[in-house]
């Protein structure tokens, strides 16, 4: 089997398993069978096997990590988000509802990637740098942390709406959800800042400048500043409840704009990897 077909088939197998995992989590949450949530986790683990294999096959075939073009970028983003989800569920097993947001976001990202151009692109010499690996890795960690903050915010929203049900009652208090939301945003900010710093070191090595006000560079700063504003408002004015939910969603929107939308819409030195 040619490696592209193998990589494609493994990806689709992973998507199918993630969809089954979502159904298992939904069943556990909606019909109040908390102990059955473990089937969901097992299915995510099962999905991660073909998913990891697909990424490795592609890595070997292309000679570079999964960071060129949508196909690779979205798939590896989903991979990191799901690994982070599993780590989180291992630490906080009661929070299965978070999986109901993180899983669909992840397999939709993968689906979007799978319908994009699967061509393998040669890595230009500037992209051959260990700082690229840090840059990309921390960016994916940031995306994963932001997805989890959104998952906490959406769950908080349901709880605040007065929605009741065994699964919502089992979730921690609204205060704990708010704290988690803030903490995920905080971790996301740290990872995002690390992405920017790794990028700055790399740009300094490669182009001879650590900052150049390029469109995508500037939008990554705008994203950082949006999240910083959110954290200041939480810290200074005790932002919570529905407002916290909407602020979190708004900031997530800015990060999505920076990572997934602007690289198509604006000419930038940083956009080639995604187009």
């Amino acid at each position: 089997m040619n490696s592209l077909v193998l990589d494609y088939s493994l990806h689709w197998a992973a998507v199918a398993l993630y969809i089954l995992a979502t159904i298992a989590f939904a069943h556990s949450v909606v019909f109040d069978h908390p102990q059955r949530a473990r089937y969901g986790s097992w299915l995510v683990w099962a999905g991660l096997l073909p998913h990891s294999a697909a990424l490795i096959v592609r890595w070997q075939h292309s000679g570079h990590g999964p960071y060129m073009l949508k196909y690779e970028v979205l798939s590896s983003n989903a991979w990191i988000t799901l690994v982070m989800l599993l780590v989180f569920l291992w630490r906080r097993p009661k929070w299965t509802a978070v999986a109901l947001v993180a899983l669909p976001v992840s397999f939709l990202m993968m689906g979007l990637g799978l319908f994009a151009n699967p061509e393998v692109r040669d890595l230009p010499p500037t992209l051959r740098s260990i700082w690229l690996v840090f840059h990309v890795f921390f960016n994916k960690l940031a995306v994963a942390a932001f997805v989890l903050s959104v998952a906490s915010a959406v769950t908080l929203h349901r709880k605040l709406r007065g929605k009741r049900g065994p699964w919502l009652d089992r979730l921690p208090s609204a205060e704990a959800l708010e704290a988690y939301c803030g903490r995920f945003v905080g971790f996301g900010l740290v990872f995002w800042a690390t992405t920017i710093v790794a990028g700055a070191i790399w740009a300094n090595q490669s182009w001879g400048r650590y900052w150049g006000w390029d469109v995508i560079e500037t939008w990554s700063l705008i994203t950082l500043l949006s999240y910083a504003t959110l954290l200041h408002v939480i810290r200074f004015f005790g932002l919570k409840g529905e407002r916290l939910v909407w602020w979190t969603l708004g900031c997530f929107g800015v990060s999505v704009l920076t990572i997934f939308i602007l690289p198509f819409a604006m000419p930038s030195l940083h956009a080639a990897y995604f187009q």
Binding site: P124, R128, L189, W213
Partner: protein, 434 residues
């Protein structure tokens, strides 16, 4: 009327204003908005004339407004500089305050009084166990330093940015294999851009570009590229390599290899035996590399196909004119020449590679790295290490004991419920009342 009280009042007002939470949030939001503007409105110093023109044509009304508010040159506009000044002032005040609090918190031991209003509190009785009457402790103290380090990092980055604006110097130069950039030469650079206080670009040692080495993918695209260079002259000279992502430090300057360039044609032109002139073929359109210009009074147009493997062409197609009259059109290979009449000739001595190099001097770069490191570490401390203070007080009650447990995490309070419950359990409390 004594002027001092006024001054003190104004100072206090300003301090309260600049340290006010609303002001701080407004400053961060305003800076964010300025960044958004920079990406939407073409900026005069890096947009092309066409982009600027198109913006004016598409948005005639906004264009006036843009010019009035200097939105097309945000980074150097007066309002932006004022905003950055305000941010620096707020950050300075916050920093002084945070460092003071840090020193105080660091030196002060945890006391029972300080935990009087702790969010987690429980009291219970248990059979007497003995042990100390009061235990006070804290973990994650280093987390207190987070906010100060983060904001110190931001200040350093802003200062480094200003330093760069004033002191940075950049130069771009195209060198042909075998060519030497002389030490201290400030005129050889094809382009220079520098801050108001920066000295012109020059390098402290002569740089001879010996050879370009490239490797390519099967598709023909460039995979790796490096330049072998010789630094200095005479017996003390040293061989070095500059590659993409591996620049070379030459005293205070750093030199980068930025583009593989293309073929350089060394022309023997004119009337007699003169030193060959190197002309550079550049990517003009599609697969063609071209040069057009005048060499010792002879109008020369050269064209070569771009090879997928990056190899130098064996020959070029030449069109040669003198006083607008065509004298030659046809292929020319190294070692071949044509007689142009009137005692003039044109011959190709050799074809070599040329490459583009860039040199940069940034005296405040270290400050930027220090700022980024401090900011990053600070953010990591804020979210990775939460300081937690706790107390267990035991009062004897005959053969039983009255136990008071208190715990205060600095942030994310609800997330410390489990830790508190665990502490209560180990102290023998089976019922939690907090």
């Amino acid at each position: 009327m004594p002027p001092m009280p006024h001054f003190a009042v104004i100072r206090r007002y300003l301090r309260r204003l600049l340290r006010g939470p609303r002001t701080i949030v407004a400053e961060v939001v305003a800076f964010t908005a300025a960044c958004v503007v920079m990406t939407i409105v073409p900026q005069a110093d890096d947009a092309t004339a066409l982009q600027l023109h198109r913006f004016e044509a598409d948005w005639p009304r906004s264009a006036q407004f843009v010019r009035l508010l200097q939105l097309d040159q945000v980074a150097t506009s007066a309002w932006f500089l004022v905003l950055v000044g305000l941010i620096l002032a707020s950050l300075g005040l916050v920093l002084v305050e945070q460092i003071r609090i840090l020193v105080r918190t660091w030196q002060r031991p945890v006391t029972e009084a300080a935990l009087a209003s702790a969010p987690f509190r429980v009291e219970f009785e248990r059979p007497a166990r003995g042990g100390p009457a009061i235990q006070l402790g804290q973990s994650g103290r280093v987390g207190y330093a987070g906010a100060a380090m983060l904001h110190l990092g931001l200040v350093l980055c802003v200062v480094a940015g200003f330093g760069r604006m004033l002191l940075e110097c950049n130069g771009v130069i195209d060198l042909v294999e075998g060519e030497t950039l002389a030490a201290g030469d400030t005129t050889a650079w094809a382009r220079q851009w520098r801050g108001a206080l920066a000295e012109p670009m020059q390098v402290g040692k002569s740089v001879r570009f010996d050879k370009l080495v490239t490797t390519r993918y099967p598709s023909g695209k460039l995979k790796e590229m490096s330049a072998h260079i010789r630094l200095g002259a005479g017996p003390a000279s040293e061989d070095h390599e500059i590659a993409v992502n591996t620049p070379l430090d030459i005293d205070n300057e750093r030199m980068y290899l930025t583009a593989d360039g293309g073929p350089a044609v060394l022309l023997d032109a004119g009337r007699g035996d003169q030193v060959p002139v190197a002309v550079l073929l550049r990517d003009v359109a599609g697969d063609a590399l071209e040069y057009s210009g005048t060499v010792r009074g002879i109008e020369v147009h050269l064209r070569a196909d771009r090879s997928r493997s990056g190899a130098l062409p064996n020959q070029v197609f030449a069109r040669v004119l003198i006083d607008s009259g065509l004298r030659y059109a046809g292929p020319l290979a190294p070692g071949q020449g044509v007689n142009l009449g009137q005692g003039q000739h044109l011959a190709i001595a050799e074809i070599r590679h040329w490459s583009q190099f860039r040199a940069r001097r940034d005296a405040t770069l270290w400050l930027a790295w220090l700022g980024l490191a401090s900011g990053l570490l600070g953010a990591l401390l804020i979210y990775g290490v939460t300081p937690v203070a706790w107390m267990v007080r035991v009062d004897p009650l005959g053969d039983r004991e009255h136990v008071v447990i208190r715990m205060r995490p600095l942030r994310f309070v609800p997330l410390f419920r489990e830790r508190f419950d665990e502490l209560v359990r180990t102290e023998g409390g089976n019922e939690v009342r907090s």
